[in-house]
């Protein structure tokens, strides 16, 4: 393996690591996702009750606890599960409490079970949602629930950007947003639509949530920057085919789930350093422990084995 020449993350000295310990990006993610959920429930009238949100969150946490025990992780860390649960609250819609429970269990369990070469393959929430839709369960995702209020998009972008910058793998987000915008404007140009059409599609809370909080999952994206940019572009191309060729909704969710299976191949073709948040942690974890990079959204792997500079 060679060092990823473009990952701007030199090893930190212990004092710097200690000072940043309390700035675990997952806290930002939890805050942002919680804020979005409150806004969605209080102002946008999302089709989810507070009871259902509580059920999703508690099931996700419980599953995380059980899996922590089963896989022998040294300690229970609720942050990842909370992020996954919040993501499900924002995206998953169903009439059935049992399906909500199933979704939370599948989402959390997938990061422990569906693994390859020390990484989990799918973004957990993406996997949970797509799995239930593939088996034909009466669940749905409402991409229109966010509306297209410009200021909201702007707010989301700012909040999302904050998190992404702290996670340092914003390249995949920017690559996706740029390629997706190019796709929408290109398509509109080809079919002679007004420029307001692609703009309307880009002013979508669902798109920003996906770009800033889901595709950017550092644990399920390729290790090298070139690989991540390629991955983002492929997700855009497949999403374009699903949206404009097959005329199916939630094209970005389907595209991400399908292309996540190609990440090991991209990693082989374009090798890089596996993402490791342990470099910002003062105390390394034991080897062989499943990582915690689980969530509906991207998140750091604080509990995966530290590779450190020597691992590069």
């Amino acid at each position: 393996m060679r060092a990823d020449p473009v990952t701007p993350r030199p090893p930190l000295d212990p004092s710097a690591a200690a000072s940043r310990r309390h700035l675990d990006p997952r806290f930002y993610q939890i805050a942002v996702l919680s804020g979005l959920l409150i806004y969605g429930l209080g102002w946008l009238h999302f089709d989810i009750t507070p009871d259902r949100a509580a059920l999703l969150l508690s099931t996700a946490l419980l599953t995380q606890y059980v899996c922590t025990k089963l896989w022998g992780l040294p300690k229970f860390d609720p942050k990842s599960a909370l992020i996954s649960g919040l993501s499900l609250c924002l995206l998953l819609r169903t009439n059935y409490a049992m399906l909500a429970i199933a979704a939370a269990v599948i989402t959390i369990a997938s990061k422990f079970v569906v693994r390859w070469n020390g990484k989990h393959i799918f973004n957990p929430t993406n996997f949970g949602l797509v799995f239930l839709m593939v088996v034909g369960a009466p669940v749905w995702v409402s991409p229109g629930q966010w509306g297209n209020v410009a200021y909201f998009g702007f707010l989301m972008a700012c909040l999302g950007g904050l998190v992404v910058n702290r996670a340092a793998r914003s390249d995949v987000t920017y690559a996706f947003l740029i390629s997706f915008a190019a796709l929408q404007f290109g398509r509109a140009f080809l079919v002679m639509q007004r420029w307001q059409v692609p703009l309307h599609r880009l002013e979508s809370g669902a798109l920003l949530l996906f770009a800033f909080f889901m595709i950017s999952d550092p644990k399920t994206t390729p290790n090298s920057r070139a690989g991540r940019i390629l991955f983002a572009c492929l997700v855009t191309v497949l999403a374009g085919f699903i949206q404009f060729g097959l005329y199916r909704t939630n094209s970005i969710l389907w595209s991400l789930a399908i292309l996540s299976t190609a990440v090991p191949l991209i990693d082989r073709l374009l090798p890089g350093v596996q993402y490791d948040w342990s470099r910002v942690r003062s105390k390394p974890q034991p080897q062989g422990v499943p990582d915690e990079a689980a969530s509906g959204v991207r998140q750091p792997a604080l509990d995966r084995p530290a590779l450190g500079p020597s691992g590069v």
Binding site: L44, H45, D47, R93, T94, N95, A137, P138, V139, W140, S142, P143, G144, Q145, W146, G147, N148, V149, L190, V191, M192, Q193, R194, Q196, V197, L199, H200, R201, L246, Y247, R248, T249
Partner: protein, 442 residues
């Protein structure tokens, strides 16, 4: 005079509401102008579209151009029944229900006897024209006469040719249609063009135009809006009645918002329900920055509560194109009958600025029921007396004050005017009780 490009600007005749149980409403006036009604029956990739219009001009001036995803065979086009559509409209319309307070003293006496008494919620064309068409890049894929309509299915290579052909064929194509037509051509859409065959109409004896129905198979679950916006003078009103197997339908590229419902509103609204509904809808549209689609009804077709009209019979549903019901089935409405038909009524007020894209839909698995229902509560006005009658009067006064505020908030109507209309005795003349009055009930 030639026909006009028309997918909109159709007047929606008001629903004739019926009464049943505690249901009550008035809908005798025109509720919305420039409104169209579309029924979309959808399962898998199969769609049956019923396009209703209450066009009231001269029949020879009627023309409709609708982009459709596929070339349609004659058997895929049908002329439906306006009555069934009106029935569907009545069944799913926003409704008013009214409850009458019982004699409060009798009520209190019963409460005293059995403390557990909880209030119940009562609750045609020559060869030369074809050659001309070909020279313009327009292909007449098919030509049929169905019922009182002459139908053409066109495909075109470019919009200029199509527009020229339409103009030469006597259709009035508004300024600006060129670009919209071009966009649909690029997306591979065909054009369904309907005109009234006056001879057939006279022979059939219909005084009005019946709804046109088309059945096609395409993954595109959408409704083209943009042609209608070309010649629109102001916002257009569209009602979409989606009938599906599994659950509620929603738009994926615009927010689908539930209308506020279940509120108590003043009694006098019973005589002003159309005005109330219109004002309330306009207010909600403004609240959502004119960018939302509104859900007015979502219900399994097998029942209703309260019923604004009986659910549609299996025959009526088959008439609308509910193909999965098969040819056999219950002939009349049977409670608990067709279980796998779920209706969603969506109402959208659109214009080019706020709705740049056509509506795209998805069927969800949401089987929960929703209805835009508003409640009138009539206070007890009979003779009665008891110690707690004062308490009842106060509760009614508070209730009416709240009803006035709710109505003002829902419609944007002036609160003082609402109070004035509500009348005296039980309303604004009685000041709200002081806080201390609540302590000792005096």
């Amino acid at each position: 005079m030639c026909g006009s490009l028309l997918w909109t600007a159709l007047l929606w005749a008001p629903a004739a509401y019926s009464f049943c149980g505690f249901y009550v409403a008035r809908g005798d006036a025109k509720l919305f102008n420039h409104a169209s009604k579309v029924v979309m029956v959808r399962s898998g990739d199969r769609t049956v579209l019923t396009m209703a219009n209450d066009y009231s001009g001269e029949p020879d001036e009627f023309a409709m151009v609708v982009p459709v995803p596929t070339i349609l065979q004659k058997g895929q086009i049908h002329v439906g029944s306006r009555e069934v559509l009106d029935h569907l409209d009545s069944y799913s319309a926003p409704r008013l229900v009214e409850y009458f307070d019982e004699d409060p003293c009798r009520q209190y006496a019963m409460e005293d006897r059995a403390k557990s008494m909880a209030p119940q919620a009562l609750g045609t064309m020559s060869r030369s024209r074809e050659e001309r068409a070909r020279s313009l890049g327009v292909t007449i894929e098919a030509r049929y006469t169905v019922g009182e309509y002459d139908i053409l299915i066109l495909s075109a290579k470019e919009s200029g040719g199509l527009q020229t052909w339409l103009l030469e064929s006597g259709y009035t194509v508004p300024m600006g249609a060129h670009r919209v037509l071009a966009s649909y051509i690029r997306q591979g859409m065909k054009f369904f063009v309907a005109k009234v065959n006056l001879g057939e109409q006279k022979r059939l004896g219909f005084a009005y135009l019946r709804p046109l129905q088309v059945a096609y198979e395409s993954p595109k679950f959408m409704l083209p809006l943009r042609l209608g916006m070309v010649n629109a003078d102001g916002p257009q009103e569209l009602f979409v009645f989606a009938i599906t197997k599994n659950g509620r339908v929603e738009t994926t590229n615009y927010r689908t918002v539930k209308l506020p419902e279940g509120m108590d509103i003043p009694e006098y609204v019973k005589d002003e329900f159309p005005g109330f509904y219109r004002s309330m809808f306009t207010r909600q549209v403004e609240n959502e920055n004119r960018e939302a689609v509104f859900l007015e009804y979502a219900w399994n077709m097998s029942w209703c509560d309260p019923c604004a009209a009986d659910p549609l019979t299996a025959d009526e549903l088959r008439g609308l194109g509910v193909f999965w019901l098969g040819s056999q089935g219950p002939q009349g409405f049977v409670p608990g009958g067709p279980q796998n038909t779920f209706i969603t009524r969506l109402h959208v007020r659109y214009d080019a600025r706020h709705f740049p894209e056509d509506l795209v839909f998805q069927e969800t698995g949401d089987q929960s029921n929703f209805q835009a229902r508003y409640v009138l509560r009539h206070p007890w006005k009979g003779d009665t007396s008891c110690e707690r009658y004062g308490e009842y009067r106060r509760s009614v006064r508070e209730r009416r004050a709240k009803e006035a505020e709710t109505l003002a908030s829902l419609t944007g109507w002036n609160l003082a005017s609402i109070r004035r209309k509500m009348g005296g005795g039980w309303s604004e003349d009685d000041n709200p009780p002081d806080w201390w009055q609540r302590i000792w009930n005096n």
